[in-house]
């Protein structure tokens, strides 16, 4: 039966929830929702939604058919089982995360669409499954994911490891693709919201109004599906669906230049209830910075500490499942006011940027600059670059320099492109010296495309997807390696294996490269000109070259010809 009717039913009759859960004691499907609000250093504000649905089933086991769905969206469940997907990560991002002003995001994503999938190792035709999967997902999310084909798909050997259970290492079962040109808008948000158990009718999702979400500096929505442990002992497996939505509201355009934010100002809504299907529904507000310069109302006694991205942060927690959170007005409108002085750039420990050097339409050079701002620790990073085939990389010109000295990567995986078939893939493990800037350069030549291969608006240029820098960054504080259920969602996405470092992925900006482009209004003129040249020039030259010239005998007058006729008969010499 339909999800919306279920919700409508439940919300009118709350006692039903308990009943239905009691009726199926074996199934422990669970839904959690969470919103983190972090006032940013620059005066902007960062809101990060996470919705987690746990599905207590293992359909990858032989002979198990799944036909009953409760909280987990059926459309995705079917896709997972049909294509034997082990892990699926898809993100749609509009905008570029400004690391220098905003710090690190909870879950990074590159501009445009990104999709990476680990298939189960029983899959025989991975490319076929991948092709079909992208088409199906393109339908589910109303996005142009069907433009993913072999020319922009790569199989990274080291950069994208599975985040869930299982230790797959064979990268033949991994597919990674980005579409940097993909525009994200309402039509992608609506299907994303429909995957939530409560839709956008109750809980935190009521805040997701597109007219506000797209009036922002940064918008990113993602779906992550992976197998996880059901409990600490890991006795049973469950599927986890995490839907995340990150948005940054701009101080000037959305905040009218005042460092004063409220839920209403950000989303034009306030919170009135939790999603009735959710086991936990919380709002976290980061109050670590300037506790004295910072004002948050209503105040809450609930504080929580979490170690996120190598930093210990303090959060005020608002539990939406408790009625007192909403106060007498029966609505929660958080109000933040702070007087910090923004403007100065941050110095995140790891930061990367990329640009195209040179001018003209023949050659160029891709520069990728990676900063290690740690004062005394060196650490290795994995750089992954996927460059379309129409930029023909000269891999012999690849240089890696740190502190104006050659820095030899300890691992290089390079797969050259095949014209019209597959892109370049370059993965390198580079050791970044402390407090340094490492520059990776490689020269390329621009290919001449066939005239049908140009995209619409060819003079706009061609996109090259972001390069991906993955690293274990040394942490300033001990990371929390314990796996506990009540950890906030935002700090539990990437499993932490050791206390001394944490995992960070940084995406650089995509590149826009102009290729030599013909003037597409010209074909008509060219055809006319060519035809004329061929007709006139070639015709007459051919004529000149093939014709043999002879001196023409002047023809004799009629009388002489007659005389000659008579002479020929008589057998005497002819007249001339």
């Amino acid at each position: 039966f339909r999800l919306s009717s279920l919700i409508g039913h439940i919300s009118t009759c709350p006692s039903l929830i308990g009943q239905c859960c009691q009726r199926h004691p074996g199934s422990v499907d669970e839904f959690q929702e969470e919103l983190v609000i972090r006032p940013l250093h620059s005066g902007d504000i960062y809101a990060s939604f996470q919705f987690r649905t746990l599905w207590d089933t293992d359909f990858l086991q032989e002979g198990q058919k799944v036909s009953h769905y409760r909280l987990f969206p059926k459309s995705l469940g079917q896709v997972l089982s049909k294509f034997s997907v082990r892990e699926l990560h898809i993100s749609f991002t509009q905008g570029f995360w400004r690391t220098m002003q905003w710090g690190q995001p909870f879950i990074p994503s590159p501009p445009g669409a990104e999709l990476w999938v680990w298939f189960h190792d029983t899959v025989s035709d991975v490319d076929g499954n991948w092709k079909e999967l992208t088409n199906v997902l393109s339908g589910i999310f109303c996005a142009s994911l069907n433009f993913i084909d072999l020319t922009n798909t790569v199989q990274p050997s080291a950069s994208f490891k599975p985040l869930g259970l299982g230790n797959a290492t064979d990268h033949r079962f991994l597919r990674y693709a980005t579409l940097p040109r993909e525009i994200v808008c309402t039509e992608n948000l609506t299907p994303w919201k429909k995957l939530l158990p409560c839709g956008s009718k109750a809980g935190l999702a009521v805040l997701l109004k597109s007219e506000k979400l797209f009036h922002s500096s940064f918008h990113s929505q993602a779906v992550h599906i992976r197998p996880v442990c059901q409990d600490e002992q890991c006795t049973s497996k469950a599927w986890e669906l995490r839907q995340t939505l990150n948005v940054v509201f701009d101080l000037y355009t959305a905040g009218q230049g005042k460092k004063e934010w409220s839920l209403f100002k950000m989303f034009s809504r306030t919170l009135t209830e939790a999603c009735p299907l959710a086991t936990s529904s919380k709002v976290y507000v980061d109050i670590t910075d300037n506790p004295e310069l910072f004002e948050l109302s209503p105040a809450t006694p609930l504080l929580s500490q979490a170690v996120v991205l190598g930093d210990r942060r303090t959060y005020s927690v608002f539990d939406l499942t408790r009625a007192e959170t909403f106060g007498q007005l029966r609505s929660l409108n958080l109000l933040l006011r702070w007087k910090g002085d923004g403007g100065e750039m941050l110095r995140p420990l790891l930061h990367a940027e990329r640009y195209v050097a040179g001018f003209g339409l023949q050659t160029g050079e891709i520069h990728t600059v990676i900063y290690n701002n740690h004062p005394y620790r060196a650490f290795p990073v994995l750089l992954m670059d996927s460059v379309p085939w129409y930029l023909q990389l000269y891999i012999h010109t690849l240089t890696v320099t740190s502190k104006s000295r050659d820095n030899k990567p300890s691992y290089i995986h390079y797969q050259p492109a095949k014209d019209r078939h597959r892109p370049h893939l370059l993965e390198m493990l580079i050791q970044l010296p402390p407090h340094s800037m490492t520059e990776v350069t490689v020269q390329f030549e621009r290919a001449l495309l066939k005239w049908t291969e140009y995209t619409p608006d060819p003079n706009h240029g061609f996109y090259v997807g972001s390069s991906v820098v993955s690293a274990l960054v040394p942490s300033m504080v001990a990371m929390n390696t314990n796996f506990t259920q009540d950890q906030p969602l935002f700090s539990s996405f990437v499993p932490v294996k050791e206390e001394s470092s944490y995992f960070v992925r940084v995406y650089t900006e995509p590149l826009l490269v102009n290729l030599p482009t013909p003037d597409f209004s010209m074909p008509y003129n060219v055809i006319c000109l060519t035809c004329t040249v061929v007709a006139v020039g070639y015709g007459s030259f051919y004529n000149l070259l093939t014709r043999t010239f002879q001196v023409d005998e002047p023809s004799l007058p009629l009388a002489k010809r007659l005389a000659n006729l008579i002479r020929r008969i008589r057998g005497v010499p002819l007249l001339t």
């Binding site: 570029f96 940064f218 918008h219 001018f359 240029g461 590149l511 102009n514």
Partner: protein, 606 residues
Amino acid sequence: MGLLSDPSRRKVLTGLLTRLNTPICIVCYLAGIVWFMGLAFEPFTLRTYMSENAMGSTMVEERFSSGERALSLAKEFDAHKRKAGGMPVEWLVKAMQSRGLEVFTQSFSRKLPFPDENKERYMVRGTNVYGILRAPRAPRTEALVITAPCSPGNTNNQAVALLLALAQYFRNQIYWAKDIIFLVNEHDLIGTQAWLEGYHHTNITGMEYSPLQGRAGSIQAALSLELSSDVITSLDLVLEGLNGQLPNLDLANLFYAFCQKLGVLCTIQGKLQRNDWDTAEGYTHAAQTMMLMVLKQACGRSWGDHGLFLRYHIEAASVRGINSFRHYKTDATTIGRLLEGMVRKLNNLLERLHQSYFFYLLPSLSRFVSIGYYMPAFGLLAVILLLRVSFPGLCHCFSVSLQPSSPGVLTVLTPVVISHLTGVALYLLPVHLQEMAVEHFPVSETEAVVLTAIAIYTAGLALPHNTQRLLSGEGTEQGWKVLKLTALLYLAVLLGCTALINFSLGFILAVTLVPITASITPHMPKALYALVMVLLSPAFTILYCVFIYQELIEAPVSVSEGWMLFLSVISQGILDHALYGSLVYPLLALFIYPCWLMFWNILFWN
């Protein structure tokens, strides 16, 4: 084309061409000049129109209103500029930061090959300050640039202030799709050059600069702003860039459209548009405007900060505020609105500007002459050179010279090589010999360079005598004909290539070089023809251009002032080559002058 395959008719044609060679050449020359002058006649030109779809129908509504604030900001900037004795870097950084931009600085230094006496600089050290307005939800792939030079003295304060006011206004808008870079550059073109080289990580002119920290993807278009007074009477659009490159015509159309919309008087080459094309004055006015454009384009220098952007395939133009004492005044708010409108339209672009023309001449802002219309004028001049190749006697000597017994090859090669060596000397020596010249003569470095150049140029005139000495025996009749044939073909190729890249330069050179080179033989009265040749040599062409230019901008000069201007033009040309990579000086020194020397050799052929 039956003409070619029919031997008798072919004979008639060649006979006609040989017999009527001189009259045909004269007609071609006159027709070329008349055609060119006719380009300024309004019925022969096309009306400009917006080709780019993305900028056409979507008229934007301008709301910029802080012109007054910009003016008070200009006073503040002026005060800080005075206090800092140059560019107030810290103040600018703070001002941009407080407006919500990401601010970066770039320091650069450049030692000029010799002191620039016009701008009084030799060792140049400076800092560029630029702020990037990050477009919301854009992936940093495209950018627009607005630049205002921080000039010494009182000038351009209003431009910088308006830039800051626009930045503040733009920052509060949500509709940006491209990042906008606000650049305040020091030492005008040198700063721009350093910034552009830093942005594209190239080094083509030996500039020293610190690498840029912030970038915003590929730059789609740039506007340079020059304002020196609180109110202006008209806005002048400057298009001519380095090496005669021009931005896409749509950029000019965009400017014109917004001037029309906001009722701002707009000029090009400082000349207002007139409506009376059918009167003699109207035509003269259009012709003057076009001539000014041709002269400016021909000299190959960048006539504003925008000119250097063109090399990087960034469409750019300078907007210059003029305050002459007309009644009609425009305030800073209106100029701000004009810029706002232009930037918003550029922001709407889906592709780089490419729809409209890149090769054009403008007799007025609303009329243009496209390449298809002006090229025949040059073609008529160039065809003379080809016709002269078929000059009686010159034609068959070519086949003669190919025979091994003929002395042709050596007699031709020697003058060719020697003229080119002179050209190389003219290119290299002036800058390299300046120290020696300064030691031995009481001149400054700049004078030394210019005077050395003139000396070498003049010394080249003595070449025929020296060439003759090198040759064994006397020059034969065949010899000069082969040399002339070579020289004519060489000049035709040179001018043809030049005109394709920089029409104006090619045309001006053709006008002066073609008549004399077409008619020269050793049998002419030597003294008279020598005088004519010298008067039509490339150096004198530059001198005439200086006078004509001064005449056209309504600032006529006396002979001595003209001479001083001529000297400074030469030094500027050499500097432009060294600083920005302008190609006019090497073209003249390495190719045109040696080619002219070859003809000079023919005149003195013994």
